[in-house]
């Protein structure tokens, strides 16, 4: 059991699963009719394993991450600061000055004896980006599952309703009447659009809509798509509507949106941290970011040079170090 958890929570396993899904998908596109593979138990099992792995990866990591971000280690050793990718000794600069020149950082400070520990953080939400993305994908998959399950239950899902002009069709407690069907053309004779004017008759509710190729009609969890048309022998137009259940759809769209937000957060919001340890002897500063380090280090370097040159001007030792 422990072994299973260990495997399922490993990123290597998740990546390997994605690799297998890629291979199966490639095979599915290689020959005509190969898309049958996407409904196969094998493929569903792979997606299921990936979903479980995704969920477990996030679940096991989010608690330590939350702890690390909410209650970070402020009191750190000299060795810790010196081991950070950006580490300097500040001369003639006080902690207060640094604090005042850092904009938009969340700051924690503690004192032990004569030593002050300081931690400034920015972009903590970026660390949660991957987990938000994972959560979004899981919501999306839930929506897909609901849609698939409900599709078998709702008798109208995937059915085609053929209605003659002037006629109507009873669907799931309400009726759909076709009032008019129109085809508009471009000057060169090509079809511009098909428009079916329909009326929904649902008890006291009587409402008219125009259904077009890109503009379906949704009523009571069922969506009607323009599917086909023709003319009867008596010269009457008929229109075929494909009926689809909308169940699960909100989950799919919300899941996709959440995943997108998570992806953007993880790619575009770097988690920046600056530790300072101020004691009688020295002031040390160390900085680290989980991405785009170069720009962040330039930012910190800018703050430092500005403060130090200011300090030197006040001391009357302008530029002596630089030359």
């Amino acid at each position: 059991m422990n072994f299973a958890i260990k495997v399922l929570t490993s990123i290597r396993f998740a990546v390997a699963t994605i690799g297998v899904i890629i291979l199966v998908s490639v095979v599915g596109t290689l020959y005509p009719g190969g898309d049958i593979v996407f409904g196969s138990p094998l493929f569903l099992a792979l997606i299921g394993i990936l979903a479980i792995s995704t969920a477990l990866c996030s679940l096991t990591r989010i608690v330590p991450l939350w702890r690390d971000v909410r209650r970070p280690q402020v009191e750190v050793s000299d060795h810790f600061i010196q081991a950070l990718p950006y580490a300097v000794h500040l001369s003639g600069v006080t902690l207060t000055q640094v604090r005042d020149s850092l904009k938009g950082y969340v700051i924690r400070e503690t004192r032990t004896g004569k030593t002050t520990f300081f931690l400034a953080q920015k972009g903590r939400v970026g660390r949660f980006g991957p987990h938000i993305a994972h959560f979004g994908v899981l919501i999306l998959l839930l929506g897909v599952a609901i849609g698939a399950a409900y599709g078998n239950v709702n008798p109208y899902n995937n059915k085609i309703a053929v209605i003659q002009e002037g006629g109507s069709q009873q669907v799931d407690g309400f009726a759909l009447r076709l009032d008019d069907f129109n085809i508009s053309y471009y000057n060169n004779g090509a079809v511009r659009d098909y428009t079916a004017k329909v009326t929904v008759l649902d008890g006291n509710l009587i409402q008219t809509y125009n259904v077009t190729v890109n503009g379906p009609l949704t009523h009571k969890g069922l969506t009607f798509y323009l599917y086909g048309y023709g003319v009867t022998q008596s010269g009457n137009a008929w229109v075929a509507f494909q009926i689809k259940s909308t169940s699960g759809l909100p989950f799919v769209w919300v899941g996709a949106a959440v995943a997108l937000v998570g992806i953007m957060l993880s790619l575009y919001v770097p988690h920046k941290r600056i530790w300072i340890k101020e004691s009688d002897q020295s002031t040390q500063l160390g900085a680290i970011s989980n991405k785009s380090s170069a720009r962040f280090f330039r930012e910190v370097e800018g703050v430092r040079t500005k403060l130090e040159s200011h300090a030197h001007r006040v001391d009357g030792t302008t530029g002596s170090e630089e030359i």
């Binding site: 990123i11 899904i21 090509a190 190729v213 798509y225």
Partner: protein, 356 residues
């Protein structure tokens, strides 16, 4: 001159200049005269300007943005790739990337030139606001993947060169020690060579940043495509080949991003990015399968994803073949004779002024 003639003129000039630019860059990689790269870049700029003119003219007379028909999409893709290449060279010097960019733009324009060019009125299924959003977003995503691909290939190429140079230098030093020769050790040619303007770290960073732009764009592209499909024929996902390949591409770059956060080796990441791009190209050109599929699926709204027309399958195979061949060529063991490193840093590699 009317806009139609202007479009054709701009297109032809761009096609010609991209070809000459490709030849110059390939020559540059074989004889390493810096001037050839400068000329190749200037020509590419020239072609880009004319292609901009061509696309703008077409937009004017067709009355809709130039990314609907096969001809337009291919041409727009070539333009966007060139645009990304130009932007890349504003602040840094990645002119050498032209050795891959210029031929790619030329091949895309070449494919475009084989397609019917007359603007057709939009068929009902394509009359959706999503066509103006979904298509350019996807193309910009692929554009970012092109840059990631180029950066990754240059990374692998440079990495290999550096390794070989270190090996030969080690050999030379051993020989120098053996003969008690006091001459200074031979200089590495790589730092003065065609890939000298950027470091491995820069290339790795460029590839990552390109994927960081391309991946969210591809995500948005897939989502907008699903919304469009849902509103057009009531199925947000139907595993048609282009949807499947878009998802495959998404998965490959998902692996890339996980490899990056896990600090797996940079060359492994470079290989993944390269394969992601090949998958993107398969998505882009693999549409030939889709049209017949859609025609049987729905009667009124044929033509979504139909931009590559019916005859693109052989093109896809050909193009993927070329790409795989390029990859293999660059990565296959192409050992240089050790004495090649004895040459002093070439004077010709010094920065020359802008080409008139």
């Amino acid at each position: 001159m009317d806009t139609v003639a202007l479009e054709h003129l701009g297109f032809e000039i761009a096609l010609g200049t991209y070809l000459i630019s490709s030849i110059l860059f390939i020559l540059y990689f074989s004889i390493k005269k810096r001037r050839l790269a400068e000329m190749g870049f200037t020509l590419a700029l020239f072609g880009f300007a004319f292609q901009t003119l061509a696309l703008a003219s077409r937009w004017l007379y067709a009355g809709y943005p130039p990314w609907v028909s096969t001809y337009e999409v291919m041409s727009f893709f070539a333009w966007a790739v060139m645009g990304a290449y130009v932007i890349l060279n504003v602040k840094s010097d990645y002119k050498s990337a032209g050795v891959l960019i210029a031929p790619l733009a030329f091949v895309l324009l070449g494919f475009a030139s084989m397609q019917p060019t007359n603007p057709a009125p939009l068929i009902p299924a394509l009359q959706s606001v999503w066509i103006f959003i979904h298509v350019p977003i996807i193309i910009l995503a692929y554009c970012a993947f092109v840059i990631a691909f180029v950066a990754s290939l240059l990374y692998l190429f440079k990495d290999k060169q550096l390794t070989e140079a270190r090996m030969t230098e080690g050999l030379n030093r051993q020989r120098d020690v053996a003969s008690k020769d006091n001459t200074p050790p031979s200089r590495m040619p790589v730092e003065a060579g065609i890939l000298a303007n950027f470091s491995l770290e820069q290339l790795d960073d460029l590839a990552y940043k390109s994927v960081a732009v391309g991946f969210p764009l591809l995500t948005i592209g897939i989502i907008t495509g699903a919304i469009w499909a849902e509103s057009a024929w009531g199925s947000y996902w139907s595993w048609d080949p282009i949807e499947t390949w878009a998802l495959i591409t998404w998965f490959v770059f998902l692996i890339y991003l996980h490899a990056k956060t896990q600090n797996w080796s940079a060359s492994l990441a470079a290989y993944i990015a390269a394969f992601g791009f090949i998958s993107a190209i398969c998505t882009f050109l693999g549409v030939g399968y889709v049209l017949p599929f859609l025609q049987t699926y729905i009667s009124v709204s044929t033509g979504l994803h139909g931009y590559a027309g019916g005859g693109a399958i052989s093109g896809t195979v050909l193009f993927c073949g070329i790409l795989v061949a390029v990859l293999l060529l660059l990565l296959a063991t192409r050992k240089k004779p050790p004495n090649a490193t004895r040459a002093p840093p070439a004077q010709t590699d010094a920065e020359s002024g802008p080409t008139p």
